[in-house]
């Protein structure tokens, strides 16, 4: 039995592995960190090699190749390639040196304004900058990215974007910069870039619904990187994912993102100050999971389903256990496992308390996957934190919930609460 346990877990993890589904929506360079997590896989080196073969990171690729072929040093072709890469790099360096030095010059930069055309004209007149030079910046940036020099790529692409008026390339540069920032784990700029890309998708691809859909899918996948690595990003991105356009994209093209959304919503519990927002998000999530149940299911969504749609606590508990495993093995969610389990327990007990009047502490502890003592502690904390109206009957080992019936007065008050304000708004609108 002991042997079976890890096997079953591994099976479970393998069954719900999202990597194959996600790779088509990620850049080569972005896939690499995902792959490097799984050194245990049998042909991981081969996969890595295939992945990076077309990049300019010759040294690294050479190492991989030699490892594959069992050689002690890199095959000779890589030396040649390396020289070639270095040569081209020098070439690019030279091509762009003038422009770069100009842009580093504080005097020149201070004279630049927000108008790109004017800037370009100004540089052309004063310093003899040509359009080719600007475009060379772009190429150089791309080259650097391909070499794995992400920071410098980001810098170059930024400079390019300041000057170029070619919309096509600017948008490509924005994507490139986003990837560079992600790979150099600069989350603040990453969030800025995500915002830019998002605007770009909304405005530029306005007429092409299909392209818009695809671009959004890419953006959703890319933004998973900051999603769970940068706390301030989570709220922004959850909102983004819940916005109609993006939730539609998720539903049509990539329902597996629901796993991350579920994790984000549930772990957000502590973060969000406003419980109303949280409730709303949860409601939306339940709705979407219910709708997509036939297309995608994994322990995380099953947990939500068991808890909020079927009200099956046993099932929820089982799924929570599975979900913990999944989370531990997920590249993005690994760090959030604890928070998730904690928050999920809260949700379970909340729901449980709401429905029950008298609860056996032992049973509840089992539901939450805790020992009896820890369970009691947990309940005490719960009562204190969330101001549940409950008492523990120590002798019987039970918690007694007090559900006061909603009085009629309160009901009337609730119903008419908005009336005054709404009428005011209405009359103001009419008066206008």
């Amino acid at each position: 039995m002991a042997d079976n346990q890890p096997d079953a877990a591994a099976d479970l993890v393998a069954k719900y592995d999202l990597l194959p589904k996600m790779i088509p929506f990620l850049d080569r360079h972005l896939v690499y960190p995902l792959l490097s997590e799984r050194d245990a896989l049998p042909d991981i080196t081969r996969t890595k090699f295939e992945l990076l073969k077309h990049t300019n990171m010759t040294d690294f690729v050479g190492d991989l190749d030699s490892e594959l072929q069992g050689l002690s040093e890199r095959p000779a072709e890589y030396t040649k390639k390396r020289e070639e890469v270095l040569r081209r790099r020098a070439q690019y360096e030279e091509d762009t040196s003038k422009l770069r030095s100009l842009l580093e010059d504080a005097d020149v930069v201070s004279q630049l304004r927000s108008d790109k055309v004017a800037n370009l004209a100004f540089l052309k007149e004063q310093h003899g900058v040509t359009l080719e030079m600007v475009n060379a910046l772009y190429d150089y940036g791309q080259f650097e990215y391909s070499c794995g020099a992400y920071q410098s790529a980001a810098e170059l692409l930024y400079q390019f974007r300041v000057l170029s008026t070619d919309n096509e390339k600017v948008s490509a540069a924005t994507w490139g910069k986003l990837a560079s920032e992600i790979l150099s784990t600069e989350w603040e700029p990453t969030m800025e870039e995500i915002q830019k890309v998002k605007e770009n998708i909304d405005t530029r691809l306005f007429s092409n619904a299909l392209a818009q859909l695809h671009a959004r899918t890419w953006l959703i996948h890319w933004s998973l990187f900051p999603f769970f690595n940068h706390d301030p990003a989570r709220e922004v991105l959850t909102d983004l994912f819940f916005s109609p356009a993006y939730i539609n994209t998720i539903q049509t093209l990539c329902p597996w993102i629901l796993r991350y959304l579920t994790a984000a919503v549930i772990t957000n519990r502590k973060l969000s100050r406003n419980s109303n927002v949280y409730q709303k998000q949860l409601k939306d999530l339940v709705r979407v999971i219910k709708q997509e149940g036939y297309e995608y299911a994994d322990p995380l969504t099953d947990f939500v389903k068991a808890l909020y749609i079927d009200f099956d606590f046993e099932e929820a508990q089982k799924k929570l256990g599975e979900a913990e495993l999944i989370l531990q093995h997920d590249f993005f969610l690994g760090s959030a496992t604890k928070a998730f389990v904690e928050a999920a327990r809260h949700l379970v007990s909340e729901m449980y308390c709401k429905i029950h009047q008298r609860i056996d502490i032992k049973d509840l502890s089992a539901r939450l996957g805790l020992s009896q003592e820890a369970g009691e502690k947990w309940i005490v904390n719960l009562i204190r934190d969330t101001r549940v109206d409950a008492k523990i009957d120590y002798q019987a080992g039970t918690v007694v919930m007090n559900h006061p019936p909603q009085s009629v007065y309160q009901q009337v008050i609730e119903r008419t609460k908005g009336g005054f304000f709404r009428t005011q708004v209405l009359s103001a609108a009419v008066a206008k």
Partner: protein, 869 residues
């Protein structure tokens, strides 16, 4: 005859009548012509009698004319053909002269009303005469035209100066005549002659006399030459063929000539189509070259289609089969000659009947005709014939067998059209391919996968080996699923509008039929058809209805009650299922259909083998309605302040009706079963209910009937539990879960999960006691009358506010945004969420409930909160 007069009298625009006249006159039944003209004369006579006495001459002539005509009629016999023709022609000319005189006189005296009518008659007569003069317009008419123009213009000018003189009707007629004359003189047919006359009137008229004389003699000669065989000398000499003439006429050289004459007589009254078909069958035997064969086949097929009349009657089975055979032959011919001939719709006709067209090597010679049209027509005729046969007879089955042949014809046509599309210079033909593909899809979509592939495989088996299709390769034949996908994907990519919508619907239908309801639903949503369907044609709407129903049935089979109900509601709740699904005309008591509408509706019907079983549909609909309605009714029963929500009106009506009936017999039909089951269910007797539902025989029609029954029993159990709890909650203070589980034969786990759901959704004012395993119902739900009223009042107030907001939004349309921005995020959104939120809006609010609401309630409610957030 009457129709002719009708056309004549009603038609005031002479230019259109020209063609009509010529069409009729070529038809050429001599006796009737005679009759007609004499009638005409009598009419003229009457007119002239009314007119005035100084037209004595005209009348006289007419009288004389009539008598001669009558005499000629009497005299008419086989050997005196030439005389008859001559007299008829002369008579026409005399008639023309009479009319001209009348017109001129009328205009001279300023009676334009009379003038106008006479002129109309005149104009109509002219093409008749022109035909007898070998297409030349009578000079006399041209002369009159020019003279009249002068007279009328003069009168018009005069009238302008003294406007008071003429009455309104008269002046109107004057204008009409003037317009007509002007139009005629500019008309292509006459303008040349008019010009010639204006230039030199003398010479023009003289010329006429010279030419006119030889015509009759020439004709006589011809007649004598051909002897008895030909009666009407005016025609090409084909219409009636004596037994002796056949061998002489049907030679390969004359084939094209015959075809032309047949084509010309097409659609005319009195043509004997069967005779034509016989002639053409012979022609086909005689035909020497492939070109001729193709031409003969093309017209033969279309004449065969003509044998069915537009109103109702379908082609006979024999004709259809022959047409199908010939169609196959035609396509085989075209396939054999694929580098020489091509049949396309808008090709130029080869004018020269005598010569065989010269073929240029390497280029295709286009022949006018429509392969796609013929294939489609075959399909339509088969459907019509199926509609006219009683579906419960063996005839129907026998006829249905032909569908295989038809399907293979469609496939052939498609392959042919694909080839045409690939030829340089004929790319424009591509869109015709779409309609063929759509037809195929129409024949496939309602079949189960296996049957579909049988149809497809058989169709391919009939085709020669070498043929293959790009869109649907032969390899796909055994995989109906892939085939349907390929067909519909092609249409998604290459068509638009109705075709695309239908392709979508057929694909959805297919998906639903194969028990993939979610996918079908996604397709349905993807297409956005539910928004645009009212703008489509009726047939597409019918397909939409069918698809919707099929999706509903798929949900039903999958045990998804709510989804099934939503999908079925629209069609089944309407009480007009038959009409909406085009599966039979429903006789409605107060129907205001005109006969035309009724006929159109009959034509729209689907053949029986495509039908969705209406009774099964009704059973499904009523069962899902029952499962949703009964708990709802129970809920309304105990909580009167609840809004009176109705899910299915149709079900409620039936239930009411059955409750009102005094005596309840044992259930006889499906409906009775379901209604009695509903009653048992609402009384908490799930066993009886399940028994009744399961004894309905119609479930056997579903695939996997057993599973359906088990599913239904399960659903009835849970619904029974819900209903029981809702109905009897007020009478209990605690209920043991184990008892419930026993009562409804459900596992304790599912009982607790159902109860938990009901508590969480606030349908049940209760809580679970985990220790004793019981439900504890909360007391204090009894409210006084005043309280109930105040609740209702508050509800109504909310409704009022909402209605006001809606009105304002509609009024201000675009500018309402400002209003939204102010009110939306604060008061409104939240107010609404609260009012309706119910279940999911749980703990957070409830726990804090005691402190917060009170405080807010007195500090300005939502306004305060809006400021906070």
């Amino acid at each position: 005859m009457s129709s002719r007069f009708f056309a004549r009298g009603g038609d005031s625009d002479e230019s259109s009548s020209d063609s009509e006249e010529s069409l009729y006159s070529v038809e050429g039944e001599e006796p009737s012509e005679e009759e007609e003209s004499s009638e005409e004369e009598s009419e003229v006579e009457e007119d002239s009698d009314e007119d005035s006495s100084d037209e004595e001459g005209a009348t006289g002539i007419n009288r004389f004319l009539k008598s001669t005509a009558a005499k000629a009629d009497e005299d008419e016999s086989d050997e005196e053909k030439a005389v008859v023709i001559r007299s008829a022609k002369d008579k026409r000319i005399e008639e023309l002269e009479g009319l001209i005189r009348l017109t001129e006189n009328a205009i001279k005296i300023g009676d334009f009303i009379q003038g106008s009518t006479e002129f109309d008659k005149l104009v109509k007569l002219v093409p008749n005469i022109a035909k007898q003069l070998d297409g030349r317009t009578p000079k006399l008419f041209i002369k009159t035209l020019v003279d009249l123009e002068a007279a009328v213009t003069e009168a018009y000018e005069k009238q302008k100066v003294t406007p008071k003189k003429m009455n309104a009707l008269n002046s109107k007629s004057l204008n009409a005549v003037r317009q007509k004359i002007r139009k005629l003189t500019k008309d292509e047919q006459y303008s040349k002659d008019v010009e010639a006359y204006r230039k030199d009137s003398e010479a023009f008229l003289k010329e006429e006399a010279v030419i006119e004389i030889p015509v009759p003699t020439k004709k006589t000669k011809v007649n004598l030459l051909l002897g008895d065989a030909i009666i009407d000398a005016d025609d090409a000499g084909f219409e009636v063929v004596g037994p002796g003439g056949k061998t002489l006429i049907y030679t390969p050289e004359s084939i094209l000539k015959h075809l032309r004459s047949i084509a010309e007589s097409r659609g005319r009254k009195g043509t004997d189509r069967n005779e034509q078909i016989r002639v053409m069958e012979r022609l086909l035997d005689v035909a020497a070259t492939d070109y001729q064969r193709i031409r003969v086949l093309l017209s033969l097929i279309s004449v065969r289609f003509d044998t069915s009349t537009s109103s109702g009657g379908a082609m006979t089975v024999e004709q259809w089969k022959l047409a199908d055979k010939e169609f196959v032959k035609l396509l085989e011919l075209l396939y054999a000659n694929q580098d020489q001939f091509i049949v396309i719709e808008n090709a130029e006709e080869w004018e020269d009947d005598e010569k065989h067209p010269t073929l240029v090597a390497g280029t295709l010679f286009p022949i006018p005709g429509s392969i796609v049209g013929a294939a489609e027509r075959l399909d339509d005729e088969l459907t019509r014939s199926l509609l006219s046969i009683d579906p419960h007879t063996s005839d129907y089955v026998a006829r249905l067998v032909d569908e295989g042949a038809l399907y293979s014809a469609l496939l052939r046509a498609q392959i042919y059209q694909e080839r045409v599309r690939k030829q340089p210079g004929f790319e424009g033909q591509a869109e015709r391919l779409n309609s063929l593909i759509l037809r195929r899809l129409e024949h496939l979509h309602f079949r189960q996968g296996r049957l579909g592939s049988v149809l497809e495989t058989n169709a391919w088996a009939e085709l020669p080996e070498g043929l293959d299709s790009d869109v649907t390769p032969r390899a796909l034949a055994s995989d109906a699923e892939a085939l349907v996908k390929a067909l519909s994907n092609y249409l998604f990519a290459h068509s638009e509008g109705i075709q695309r919508a239908r392709a979508m619907l057929h694909r959805t239908y297919w998906t639903a039929l194969h028990d993939r309801p979610w996918e079908a639903k996604d397709l349905m949503l993807l297409s956005h058809l539910s928004e645009t369907i009212p703008s489509f044609d009726i047939i597409t709407q019918i397909h939409y209805n069918r698809t919707l129903v099929q999706v509903g049935l798929a949900f039903f089979r999958a045990g998804l009650i709510w989804e099934s109900q939503t999908a079925l509601q629209e069609i089944c709740g309407s009480n007009r299922q038959k009409e909406l699904l085009a599966q039979g005309v429903q006789v409605q008591r107060y129907s205001s259909l005109t006969p035309e509408q009724e006929r159109a509706e009959r034509a729209r019907q689907l053949p029986f083998h495509c039908h969705i079983n209406i009774e099964l549909l009704e059973a499904c609909y009523l069962v899902v309605s029952m499962l949703l309605e009964i708990p709802l009714l129970a809920q309304i029963g105990t909580a009167p302040d609840q809004k009176r929500r109705v899910i299915s009106k149709a079900f409620r009506r039936l239930l009411d009706y059955s409750e009102r009936s005094v005596f309840q017999g044992p259930p006889e039909n499906t409906r009775d079963h379901i209604l009695q089951a509903s009653k048992a269910l609402s009384a908490g007797d799930y066993k009886k209910s399940a028994e009744l539902i399961n004894s309905i025989k119609i479930w056997d029609l579903m695939p996997k009937a057993l599973e359906i029954r088990t599913m239904l029993t399960e659903k009835i159990k849970t619904t029974g539990l819900e209903t029981y709890l809702l109905t009897y909650a007020p009478f209990y203070s605690t209920v043991n879960l184990a008892t419930l589980s026993e009562m409804f034969d459900l596992s304790p786990r599912s009982v607790s999960s159902i109860v938990a759901r009901m508590i969480s959704h606030e349908e049940l004012a209760a809580a679970l006691d985990q220790v004793s395993g019981a439900i504890i119902f909360r007391k204090g739900v009894n409210i006084s009358r005043l309280q109930a009223l105040s609740l209702t009042l508050s509800e109504k107030a909310t409704v009022l506010i909402e209605a006001n907001e809606k009105t304002l939004e509609q009024r201000t349309q675009g500018t309402a945004n400002a209003f939204e921005r102010q009110g939306g995020p604060g008061g409104r959104g939240r107010g609404r969420g609260r009012g309706r939120g119910g279940g999911p809006q749980n703990m957070g609010d409830r726990q804090g409930g005691q402190q917060r609401p009170r405080g807010q309630g007195f500090t300005g409610g939502a306004l305060g909160r809006a400021i906070q957030s």
